[in-house]
Structure formats: C-alpha cells, structure tokens
C-alpha cells in the first residue's frame, strides 16, 4: 500500500474582494457576469453571499463598493503572500490567487508538527505583509491526506479563525481522512473539486447526500453510471489522491533547457523563448498521448539567483497556459529582486525616475530557462480529430490566439461556451481562451445540449446584448410609468420610451412575457417581465429611425437589455 501523503492548503478567504477593497473595513463585492463572486468580511456581515445578483447585494448593503472582476489584480497582489510562504516552504504550488498547496510532511517535521507549522506561516504572513487592506483578511490552513480534504479543512479553519478572532489551524489526523470526509455533504465536491452543478444535483436526487453514501457504492457501479467522472467521484469521496505530490524530486521525464550565451535582459525575448520551449514541450507529450499537469518553471540569473515555481492544472497545461504562468512568475521574481536591491542599497533612491523593470533585468540578466515536467498523465478525453491533428487554419488560428492573449492578457481574449438559460445574456458563457479546453471543436455533447430553454425568447435573437442593462422609462399615453400587475397584465399600452434624453414613440409591442426563476432559492431567485418594443424616432436630419428592443421590468425598474440591430 502507498503511504498517504500529507498535503497542506493555505487559503486566503475571498482574496479578490479583499484586494479590491479600498481599505479593510469597507464592504466590497467583486462582480462577474452580474453575480457576486467574492466579498469582504465587512460585506459578509450584511448578509452578502457569493452567487447573489448585484442588485440583491446592493439592496442588502447600500454602501457596498462594487468592483469588476480582474484576475491580473488578484494575481499581482498575491505574489506578496507567495513570497512569504516560499521563504518557509521550498516548493509550493499556486493553484489560483488566494490558494497555495504544498507537501506538509517536510515542513511539519522541521517546525514541530502540523499545527505549529501552520501557525508559524500565518504569523509570518501577518508580520511581513505590510498592506493595510489585508488586515481583515481571513487566512485558513488545513492539513489532510488528500487535496479535497485539505481544501475543506482550510475553509473550516478560516471560518473558525474569524469567529474566534485568532488563528486556528485545522488538522485532519493522518489516515483519518476517509472517516473525516464521510459525513461531508456532496456539495463540497462542487465547491472545492470543481465538479459541475448538474452532477451534484443529480447525486442529491439519487439520494446520495454525503460523501459516505457515494463511497459506499462500489466504484464499478459509479463508473457504469457516470463513466470516468464516476471513478473520479469515488476517488474524491474516499479521500485518495490520483497523483500524489512528490516530496522527493524524481528524475524528470522530459525537460527543456534554454541557455543564453549572454545574459538576456529583455523580458519579451525571454517570453518568446519560453513560448518556443512550451510548444516543443506540449508537442512532445501529445505525441506520446499524454499531457503534463504539473510543471516546474525555473529561471536562473547571471548572479546565480534562481526562481523555481510549481504550476498545476488538473486539465493539463496547454502551451498558452505555460506561457502565462511563466510570465506571471518572471514578473513577480523581477519585482522581488528589485525590492531586495532597493532595501540592500541605500543609494538606490536615485532610481525613482528609472524604469524599474529594466533596472532589475539589467542587473539580473537571465542565463538559463528550464521547463521540467513534474507530473504527467495519459491524455484521456482531448482527442480532437479523427484524421490526426487539426487543419492548417486551426493551427495558425491557435497561434494567433496565443499571441493575442499574450498581448492583452488572457481575460481579454475569450471564446464562447454554451451554458443554457432563459436570459439572452446567460445562454453563452465567455471563458478566457487560455482556459478553454478544446478550442476549435464543438463537442458532440455541446451540440446536443445547445437548444433553447423553455421560456426563452423566440427567434430571432437580438444581436446587441448589454451586459449592463440601460435604464429607461416606458410611459403610457398620460405620461405615467408603465407597470405590470400580479397577473402579468400591462397597466396600459406603452406609448413612449425615454432613453437618457431621447424620446421614442412606440409603434407596436409584444408581451409581456413573465419569467420566474429559482423561486426556491432566496439568493438567486429572479422575477421579471419582458417586452419587445418597436419604436421610432425622427432624427435631426428628419429621417425616420426604427428600432426594435427588448425591455425588462425587474424590481420595479425598466431597462433595455438588448437591441435587435
């Protein structure tokens, strides 16, 4: 039997909201696609929850500061935390901003046990990260035998620390992970192991409410019902790791090294060479039918300083993901080098007007870049084409997309993914192109499921859809605001629409069509009425402009959600 590996997870609760807030006491929420994805402890006290609609959050807490989601901001701010932890623990894995995973056995033995180790790291964080915004940050550390258990434990630890007002680590005893996980609800799989909502809800409807229930079934039964996902579910619930973290570095299966004869000090050149290496790297593995899920990227400077970091993506690292990670690491490293230089050198105040990055690179030109595969698994479900590889156009397009994401950052280059819904905005989700699993091929599953929901608007759909609906006034013939009764009847015929300072005359309309969604869930429920309007307006040059729009009445306010352009 394999000896279980101890894993520690350090979690900074609601990292993106804490970083986005102006100071530690303001309530602040980070919004993505009209939903709260993170909020500060101050906002939590008002009852603002993750997943709430923006309006709902504003209704609960009128002074709440609303910030748009911006992954790069989270990442840059998180580097300070990574640096502190990295001083105490050599090899750490940054899965996402706010979450650090590392092997616990070595550090624990050095620092005298799991609990003291966790306290020590958190103490170091509190003392050395000098950022006033982080005063309210809730940090939790969980130690367990599996990634899932450690994640849940870290969350529990953060919550316990907030109520007790001092740091409490949560340690699951060795070999007890299985029993500890058993009473947990299956919802933790969705929250911490990114199993999708439909599967979770299906499990609940099958009567499998806790991980114990899932675990009690035999693996083959689950595999028969869910396929590969079933095996994964069983593995997660019994607290096993598919690929345990390697504590002792094993000989790499494949590594790419690029040595520069002369120290290179242009960041762009380094990134370009990483790009070349990443292409060769992923190609090597795809030829062998496998995919690299964990990679060590290492930079070495002229003066012998090194930056090594571990990167993990459970779906496998694509070329663009490797480049992005390398870029993140390089920037962070340069920043830290610079900070070290300035603190060590009292005369460096002259540097203030100097381009900081260039300075760092000039003094620390790179001589070596390495990519080392740390963990490789067989490529399971990403075979794209029957006839070996994609076409030439697909290849050039993928390259161009990689280049674009490099130019603009991955969040500015997006591809669409079907998710379904009644709202014109909801039916497709935009995901960043670097995180998309299969660019250029619609899976058969997607083609089947991409059908309209019952209650969705009839074809044709509007070609201009506003992510932030525009406030309008819709009046009847007496200039009174139009309302809709409880029986979904209009109070009168709409006659005029006022958008900003422009008046439109209503020619005709269709509706009202009511939508009532998720009435059982107070945080996510929606109640609204939709109306199609055909309006006209005489423009300045006495031409007639005809405009068809989709108006929505929600919370007593009319908005224009889309235009049929």
């Amino acid at each position: 039997m394999r000896t279980p590996k101890r894993l520690a997870v350090l979690r900074c609760l609601d990292w993106s909201a804490v970083v986005a807030a102006k100071n530690s006491t303001t309530p602040c929420a980070v919004i993505h696609a009209q939903r709260v994805i993170s909020r500060t402890p101050a906002a939590m006290r008002y009852g603002v929850q993750v997943g709430m609609r923006r309006r709902h959050a504003q209704a609960l807490c009128p002074d709440i500061e609303i910030v748009a989601h911006q992954p790069s901001r989270d990442r840059t701010a998180f580097d300070a935390v990574v640096r502190v932890v990295n001083e105490l623990v050599p090899l750490i894995e940054v899965s996402e901003p706010g979450l650090i995973v590392f092997a616990a056995r070595g550090p624990s033995r050095y620092m005298g046990g799991d609990g003291p180790m966790a306290s020590k790291i958190v103490e170091a964080l509190k003392t050395s990260v000098a950022d006033s915004r982080l005063a309210a940050l809730l940090v939790g550390v969980g130690v367990a035998d599996s990634r899932l258990a450690a994640q849940i434990a870290s969350h529990a630890s953060a919550m316990a620390s907030s109520s007790a007002n001092l740091f409490v680590p949560y340690v699951v005893e060795p070999d007890k992970t299985n029993e500890w996980l058993a009473p947990q609800s299956v919802r933790v799989l969705g929250e911490f192991a990114s199993i999708n909502r439909e599967t979770i809800s299906l499990l609940e409807r099958l009567g499998l409410n806790t991980l114990h229930d899932v675990c009690a079934l035999s693996e083959s039964v689950l595999a028969g019902r869910f396929g590969e996902l079933g095996v994964e579910l069983h593995r997660l619930s019994r607290g096993d790791e598919q690929y345990p973290l390697a504590v002792v570095p094993h000989p790499p299966e494949h590594l790419c090294i690029e040595k520069f004869d002369e120290p290179v000090s242009d960041q762009q050149i380094i990134i370009n060479s990483v790009q070349r290496m990443a292409v060769a790297f992923t190609e090597y593995y795809s030829v062998h039918g496998s995919v690299c899920v964990r990679i060590v990227i290492s930079f070495e400077s002229e003066s012998g300083k090194r930056s090594e970091r571990l990167w993990y993506r459970p779906q496998g690292l694509t070329t663009s993901a490797i480049i992005e990670n390398a870029k993140w690491q390089l920037e962070a490293w340069l920043a830290s080098q610079l900070a070290g230089d300035i603190s060590g050198d009292p005369e460096s105040h002259a540097l203030e007007n100097y381009a900081l990055e260039n300075y760092a690179l000039e003094n620390h030109g790179l001589v070596r870049v390495q990519l080392i595969a740390d963990e490789v698994r067989t490529d399971t479900a990403q075979q794209l084409r029957l006839w070996g590889g994609s076409t030439q156009t697909d290849e050039t397009a993928t390259q161009a997309i990689g280049r674009l994401s490099e130019l603009l950052g991955s969040s500015a280059v997006q591809v669409a993914k079907w998710q379904g819904g009644r709202d014109v905005l909801d039916s497709y989700e935009l995901v960043s192109a670097t995180h998309a699993q299969t660019i250029g091929s619609a899976s058969s599953h997607e083609q089947i499921s991409a059908q309209k929901w019952r209650g969705a608007l009839p074809n044709p759909s509007p070609s201009v859809v506003y992510s932030e609906p525009i406030q309008v006034q819709i009046n009847d013939q007496f200039g009174k605001l139009l309302s809709v009764s409880a029986r979904h009847e209009l109070s009168a015929s709409p006659v005029s629409v006022i958008i900003g300072s422009t008046h439109y005359k209503v020619n005709s309309w269709a509706g009202p069509w009511p939508v009532e969604e998720r009435w059982w869930d107070s945080a996510r429920s929606r109640r609204l009425v939709r109306l199609q309007l055909v309006c006209e307006k005489i423009t300045a040059d006495s031409a007639l402009q005809i405009l068809a729009m989709l108006a929505i009445l929600e919370h007593g306010e009319w908005t224009v959600a889309a235009i049929y352009s």
Partner: protein
C-alpha cells in the same frame, strides 16, 4: 475625371490579375470566402474577397455582418470579433456562425494598441468583425490595411453605437479612417410579427445600399431578413 477613374480601374484589374497569377502557384490559398445565399447578391464579387474591407453600417449592420461570416466559419475559417462590445452570441448562432471557431477580443481603445491587436489577429484569423475606435489615427489604419492585404484576411467594420444616433445615423459624415472596398449601408424600414401585445418579432424589411470603391454603380436593395 472620368478618364482618370477608368485608368485606375484598368490598373487595378491588372494588379488583380497579377495577384491571381501569383496565387495560382500556391493552390492551397482560397481567394474568396464563401457567403450564404441570401447575402451573396449584395456583394460585387459574390463572395468575400480576401484582403478587402467591407463596412456594414446602419441599424442592421451587425446582423448583416454576422450573416456574411456564417458560411465561411462553417467551412473552417476562423472569425475574430475585435472590440465589438455587447455582441449577442445567440444571434450569432442563429445566423449560422460556428462559435467554436470564433474568438472575442477586447483590445484597449487607444489607437496604437488597437491596431497592434488587429494586426496580431490578422496574422492567424481569416475573418474579422471589428469596431473601429473613434481616435484611430489614419497612419495606424493604413498599416492595418496593408497587413490585411498581405495576409489575405477579410475585415468587416461595424458601428458599435446603436443608441447614440448622432454617429451611426450620419455615417457618411464621420471621419472614416479605413477606405472600405464595399460599403453596405442598412436601414430598417419596418418590423413585422408584433401587433399591440400579440405575436413576436419575426421579420424586418431592410433597405441596403451597396457602394464603395469596388462597386461600379451604387445599388439599392430592399430585403426581408429574419433578423
């Protein structure tokens, strides 16, 4: 004056001849991207000729641009949508655009960065739907156009402002950085399908005026479109 234009046209056609001859040596390059039947007659070459710029203006411009792209994306070309805010993806699917080969790019609105982004997109994508920022300098526009011609991609320009009519309505007056080869100016005449609370939006009659430097004579069409 008339002689001048005639001369230019012959020059251009000679140039075109040369280009096609060059391309004949490289048979894998398709010189023209296919378009769906309902919009084919609008275009002078009954297809989207590579290296050219098409402008779709007016209040049905975006949906027209989407239907121009549909068949080409289904046949394997990639579409980049650059700087177009608020694109309704459901509408794109209904027009037949293959979303699995569509990328949405949101560049900054400054002239230099926008043109760098578009140039990078031209490198690998066959088709682009772009909204041009107001402050784009003529120099940058020319660079993009040269790149477009050398990479043999097709760029479709749309207006991004539907509700602020001052710009989109007086399309002819605005400073246009790009000299479009084909201009399709649309104007909705009427919508059908809705009637005082009943029905739903189904069809519309659109007047489309076709002009531009590759169009010999300005033509007007009255088309009934499903959107």
């Amino acid at each position: 004056m008339q002689l001048d234009t005639k001369q230019r046209i012959t020059e251009l056609s000679i140039k075109e001849l040369l280009v096609t001859q060059q391309l004949n040596t490289k048979p894998q390059v398709v010189e023209r991207l296919a378009v769906a039947d309902d919009v084919r007659e609008l275009l002078p070459d009954s297809g989207l000729v590579r290296g050219r710029i098409v402008r779709c203006s007016g209040d049905a411009g975006l949906s027209l641009a989407l239907s121009l792209c549909s068949l080409a994306t289904q046949q394997g070309s990639w579409l980049g949508v650059v700087g177009v805010e608020h694109l309704g993806l459901l509408a794109a699917v209904e027009h037949g655009v293959a979303l699995e080969r569509t990328v949405l790019v949101h560049p900054p609105k400054t002239s230099r960065e926008w043109s760098i982004t578009v140039a990078a997109a031209i490198e690998g994508l066959d088709l682009l739907i772009v909204a041009v920022p107001e402050r784009l300098s003529v120099n940058d526009a020319r660079r993009v156009q040269t790149r477009l011609q050398s990479r043999r991609a097709v760029m479709i320009i749309v207006d991004n402002t539907v509700l602020s009519q001052s710009r989109s309505m007086n399309g002819s007056n605005e400073a246009q950085q790009f000299l479009a080869d084909v201009v399709l100016d649309t104007k909705t005449k009427s919508w059908s399908g809705v009637d005082k609370g009943a029905g739903y939006l189904q069809h519309r009659d659109v007047r489309i005026r076709v002009s531009g430097r590759r169009v010999a004579r300005e033509r007007n069409y009255l088309v009934t479109r499903s959107c």
